[in-house]
Symmetry: C2
Subunit: 390 residues, 2 copies
Amino acid sequence: MSDPLRLARRMGGIAPFHVMDLLARAQQLEAEGRDIVHMEVGESDFDTPSAVVEAGRAALAEGRTRYTPALGIPALREAISRHYRDYYGVDVPAERIAVTPGASGALQLALGVLLDPGQKVLMADPGYPCNRHFVRFCDGEPVSVPAGVESDYQLHAAHVEEHWDSATRAAMVATPANPTGTLLDRAQLVALAEATAARGGALLVDEIYHGLVYGVEEVTAATLADNVIVINSFSKYFGMTGWRLGWMVVPPGLLRAVERLAQNIYLAPSTPAQYAALAAFEPEVLAELEVRRTEFARRRDFLLPALRELGFLIPSTPNGAFYLYADSRRFGDDSQVLARRFLEEAGVAVAPGIDFGAHRAADHLRFAYTTSVSRLEEGVARIARLLGQG
Amino acid sequence: MSDPLRLARRMGGIAPFHVMDLLARAQQLEAEGRDIVHMEVGESDFDTPSAVVEAGRAALAEGRTRYTPALGIPALREAISRHYRDYYGVDVPAERIAVTPGASGALQLALGVLLDPGQKVLMADPGYPCNRHFVRFCDGEPVSVPAGVESDYQLHAAHVEEHWDSATRAAMVATPANPTGTLLDRAQLVALAEATAARGGALLVDEIYHGLVYGVEEVTAATLADNVIVINSFSKYFGMTGWRLGWMVVPPGLLRAVERLAQNIYLAPSTPAQYAALAAFEPEVLAELEVRRTEFARRRDFLLPALRELGFLIPSTPNGAFYLYADSRRFGDDSQVLARRFLEEAGVAVAPGIDFGAHRAADHLRFAYTTSVSRLEEGVARIARLLGQG
């Protein structure tokens, strides 16, 4: 007789985050009185903008606590549509916007409507680990394509051409990317859309770090081609992580299926969060977010040369998100050991490359600049001392 | 070349809700000035208790807008644990509670960790349609077991014995059930747990309508056996639908897997909703909910005899949820046509049986008593006139 609680096979492919153990250890050290510089956290240190919080409070006071339509309240879908016009100068009709419970909900819908069991999805290694696991959750097969500095750690059309086979259904990219902070430009996105379309496949583009881009053009893939699905979120740029709200730009032909799946797998996104998010596009909020963007750029401009100075290799300048993915070979051949040393001996928490894939993962660390410049300076100084450079 | 946006096979098994079309038509009629009695809505007409709303507003003011642990904030897991002690007199340690984005999130986790593609899950027909679709989403096969008045429309241990085969992984029941409002008693739940355990399978028990039970003992399956997973929610009894918050009582052996899957498929449940829900167990809120329960019982006690009087068959008294599942054969052999007639000719919206399965679906209508007794009286009077009894 089988075990009533035997795990499904897909769970074998769904790994825990190593950084969670590291975070737990960091919190333990803090409880013992140690000061820890946190450069491991993938969440902005800025609070939800106060006007958004106030809109959420007002919505609650007005009784906005019932189910909404599965694809979200019309006013928010229209506000997001206007955002595409105002921010990117492109026309994305509100009907194509599906408001979702975080980018997580959007990824579930996108893969759920597209992917049959056993079908493959190409993605760059290194990459955001949940993307692989969403594919596994739909019983698909994530294909991690090794991507190094030669392609800014990104999946390019040439990778699609090389790795696509008859079982491949889609390619997934992120711009800016986690853990590397690198972007795809317009030509690269168009080439990816064409390469996937030519093979009868879809292109999923994760734009959840849009808005956190420094000094280069931001290109949305939402209007580039008919086979493109864009995933976005209120979590990062808009500072709304805990509200769990995102959206998807859906190709018109998939809208009914996406709505049907949303009705069934989660009914509707959070109602208070949707009403709060209406305020996210107000001019004073956008102005506040621009101030934050400038501050993130300032942090990047401090941390990037500082890490290079220490001997970490970061060949090209990452222009987005709040991460630097640093080659740490000079300091040993196991970045998990190195991350542990940084924490235990220097009181600096960073994420080991293994959380983001397998390709040269042991050679890399991810530094998040989700803390102030003064704390980043302190972290760099501690690492310098540990490495005998202080 | 294949279509880049061809739908995954699972979408063929995921049907839209017919009641949505009916609801859209009802709203259209209302826009034209018609008065519609709504007896189709599966959402309580009572607002979120004001103390819960205030707790949510206070949480926002205090900046509770960041990610929480994947299984929820410890204080809420402990509050739910205490609820099991206070309400049922059973000991469910906080470590076994996973707070989830609605019961939907809990069902995804439960099936995600247990079910391999192609494996079967037994459930009663009629039943809540999303349950079938969650199984499809995990590429499993929902097995709808016809259940009639002889088992109060419930799946019993005898059904498990009859329908279980080597590909069956679990059985799923709901008590109180949607669309029938019927319950399983302790002996029936124990027999189900034993029948599934004896076959190496799990038993999923949906208790989201707990608290909305009238005059009979409420039994939770949370402590009945080691192979039982309980799904619950703040939506129905606690009046928190739009907040999207639920929980699962997880067998200890599955906790790590459930946490790992939660981290990956949604990161964490809504933070403001979790802090708001802390107030749901306050004595004044529970007192308010008891008043509401009494009101639901009063509605049931009006509507049940009134529908029987009209000629609908409801053989045994449904003691929970806010639904009556009525045999409408006397008025025709297609309840979808009948529901449409009720709406167009009498201005009364009810849900056709087809939304809940196939077994004698065309013979049934679901009446929801999620509106006041005076509106229920108006609805019944209109139906009586339409049927030539007024």
